[in-house]
């Protein structure tokens, strides 16, 4: 972003004089914000100027938060959800039902399910869905890891809670088929009722999701 453009946004000349020296760092910050999803050039400028106005402590807190996410958040080695511990809180919670595992595509779907307060089992995050046209195959998801988990014998029901889209359904069908092929004798169910075709799970309201849980069907 050119200095000229920034100047146009700054009608206050006194502030402009201060910013002059920092034009390059400011331009850099605007550029970084622009890379974020859903942020256009205008929003990027607005955010950058907001950062200029906040205190140094607040700015440092933000910078630390960004950095700490990169430093300390990793994938739980059991369920592949995000965690800052060796094993995530859900997986290490002794009160959860370890015989039931809910398979979701993204970490944000875990959040959606947890909000219902209805589900007491464990999770398995695939990290996406099978999308043949995009070249996303089963080997690019945590399906092999799921099979290994189920193979341990503790799990008696696998609930497939991928989105009710063509890719989500295909992923569920593929996992169900693979589990049966491997001799899994427990229940394989699919979250179904109340979820409109083509929608995203994490946008479903709680009532819909609770209903979807209760009405799960065998697949």
């Amino acid at each position: 972003m050119a200095g000229e453009d920034i100047r146009q946004l700054f009608v206050c000349t006194r502030l402009w004089k201060i910013i002059m020296h920092y034009a390059k760092p400011l331009a850099k910050l605007v550029g970084e914000f622009e890379k974020l999803p859903g942020i256009g050039p205008k929003s990027a400028q607005r955010l950058a100027f907001h950062i200029l106005r906040i205190s140094e402590d607040e700015a440092k807190a933000l910078a630390d938060a960004v950095l700490n996410v990169k430093l300390y958040i990793k994938l739980c080695p059991v369920c592949y959800n995000y965690t800052d511990q060796d094993c995530c809180e859900i997986c290490s919670d002794a009160k959860r039902d370890r015989s039931l595992v809910c398979v979701v595509s993204e970490p944000r779907d875990v959040v959606a399910m947890e909000k219902t307060n209805e589900f007491r089992g464990l999770f398995h995050v695939l990290g996406g869905v099978i999308s043949p046209m995009d070249g996303v195959g089963p080997d690019m998801l945590k399906i092999r890891e799921l099979l290994a988990r189920v193979g341990d014998g503790e799990i008696t029901e696998v609930l497939l809670a991928t989105n009710p889209t063509i890719e989500g359904d295909t992923t569920a069908m593929y996992i169900a088929r693979t589990l049966k092929e491997r001799g899994f004798e427990g229940r394989i169910s699919r979250i179904a009722h109340g979820m409109p075709v083509g929608s995203d799970m994490d946008y479903a309201d709680q009532a819909t999701l609770i209903q979807a849980l209760q009405w799960r069907r065998d697949i």
Partner: protein
Amino acid sequence: MGGRGSRRATSLIYKPNMKTYTAGSIVLRRIDLGEKDRIITILTREQGKLGAVAKGARRPGSKLAGASEPFTYGKLFLSAGRDLDVLSQAEIKESFPNVKQDMRAVAYGMYMLELTNQFTEERNPNPELFDTLLSAMYILESGTDAEITARYFELQFLDLLGYDPHFETCIRCGRKPKQGRLGFSPSLGGIVCDSCGITPSDVIWAPDAIISYINALRRAEPQKLKDMKFPRGVRRDLANILKWHIRYRLEHDLKSADFIDLIAMFE
């Protein structure tokens, strides 16, 4: 979409109301846009292939959610945009529920959509091609073997685009090939016989019995496809020949073919 675009939109150039129209459409592809929206690639009978934005399509309860799913036939209400048209309303004509409950049918269905998407240009209408794809989708929905449906579609589709592989006679000398095996050259786009010169380096060998299957498939009435039985070897050879034929024309493979190969292990 972003800020730079909106600057242009607020210019002083006089614009009449956005042109709105309805189109019978097949959704070929969709990608997520931002938090709630989708961009879909559709094949319309009247306007050919085009891109459209389906705003809010990922929210449950959105009337556009189901209609923006790939492998869906619908009547779409669109308004012309600068780059992408905007989908305002949709009426689903057929969502092909049987296909979507059958992994193998989905795999071949996606393959047909990708083939169509890769071979067509935007806004170059071809009503016959649209009808051919839609028919193949209905054939798949009726429970016809997915692989046979896909091969049937491929042959018709390539024919319509002028890329039909030549199987009847040797592409060089015009003679019927001798009994036994035949060679198919993807670069020449047809079969070549042993007796008319140097064999092209890209030739794929197959038993000549494959020709009768191809001819039967080409001439088949859609309702007869259900009764057709192709031996495993014929299926494999035909798939291989068409794969190389398409690869030579597209200069790359279709991504959805990998998933078909993968789920073959369940058969």
